[in-house]
Homo-oligomer: 138 residues x 2
Amino acid sequence: MNDIDTVVERFREAGMKITPQRLSIFALLMDNKDHPSAENIYHQVLEIHPSISFTTVYKTLQTLRDLGEINELSVDPERAHYDPDVSEHYHAFCRSCRGIRDIFPGESSSFSSELPELEGFRVQSVQVAFTGQCEECS
Amino acid sequence: MNDIDTVVERFREAGMKITPQRLSIFALLMDNKDHPSAENIYHQVLEIHPSISFTTVYKTLQTLRDLGEINELSVDPERAHYDPDVSEHYHAFCRSCRGIRDIFPGESSSFSSELPELEGFRVQSVQVAFTGQCEECS
DNA sequence: TTCTCTGCAAATCGTTTGCAGTAAA
DNA sequence: TTTACTGCAAACGATTTGCAGAGAA
């Protein structure tokens, strides 16, 4: 995710408006390493905007995703999680606590960081998801 | 997925019963390379058992998954797909036709076939999903 | 007979949408 | 003023569950 000023600029360029709710969502996501769900984000923004609706959070996340500012992860079969780090990296999902940890190429020897070439398929994105148990849950 | 006799044996050993419905589902999955959804399987079994319910299909898939006979894929954010091939391989998911193609290690140079070691995480499975557009949809 | 499975119907839950009032530009 | 956004309430759709009758062992 770009810095807030850049995100704001991109919204304006696209003819979209900047609202206090959106600014709070941007701020919450910025540098967030927790891979929150829409519900997580909603509950956190509630502290700042007690009357914000889930719908607003949901639609803002959709927009950010469509702009490529954040990634929507499908690692957790029960719900989507969001990641403001759109650089090449992978995820370790703990079945027990449903936590998601970042894995950077190099940390796992057997996965390189190059976008692969596939015969007869135009690859737009790659998701590598390790599922298992984190240290705390073992 | 093991051959049908072995699957039947495993069910019996676990105190579970073998029904005509289950046998048809086993047969449909065996060597199936289509990565069907539960709904797909349900519609196919309907031809053989016109009164089978979705619930029965659903519960059988759960059981097969829990036994490790099939994998439940979360490549498609809209629904689960099932794969009787539980050997190490990856998937290419086409956003347009929602089709899933198998990718075997070696076909994609940048992903090896070894189960990786991650510091402080017990890896139980790895899902590598390439999302994009297949040849037919391009 | 015993115990699991089947099929129905309903509940669940994350996600998505329509719309009227609100607020940004 | 114009146009997009917010929040509500309801729809949606895949998934999951409770339960009574059916069927496998």
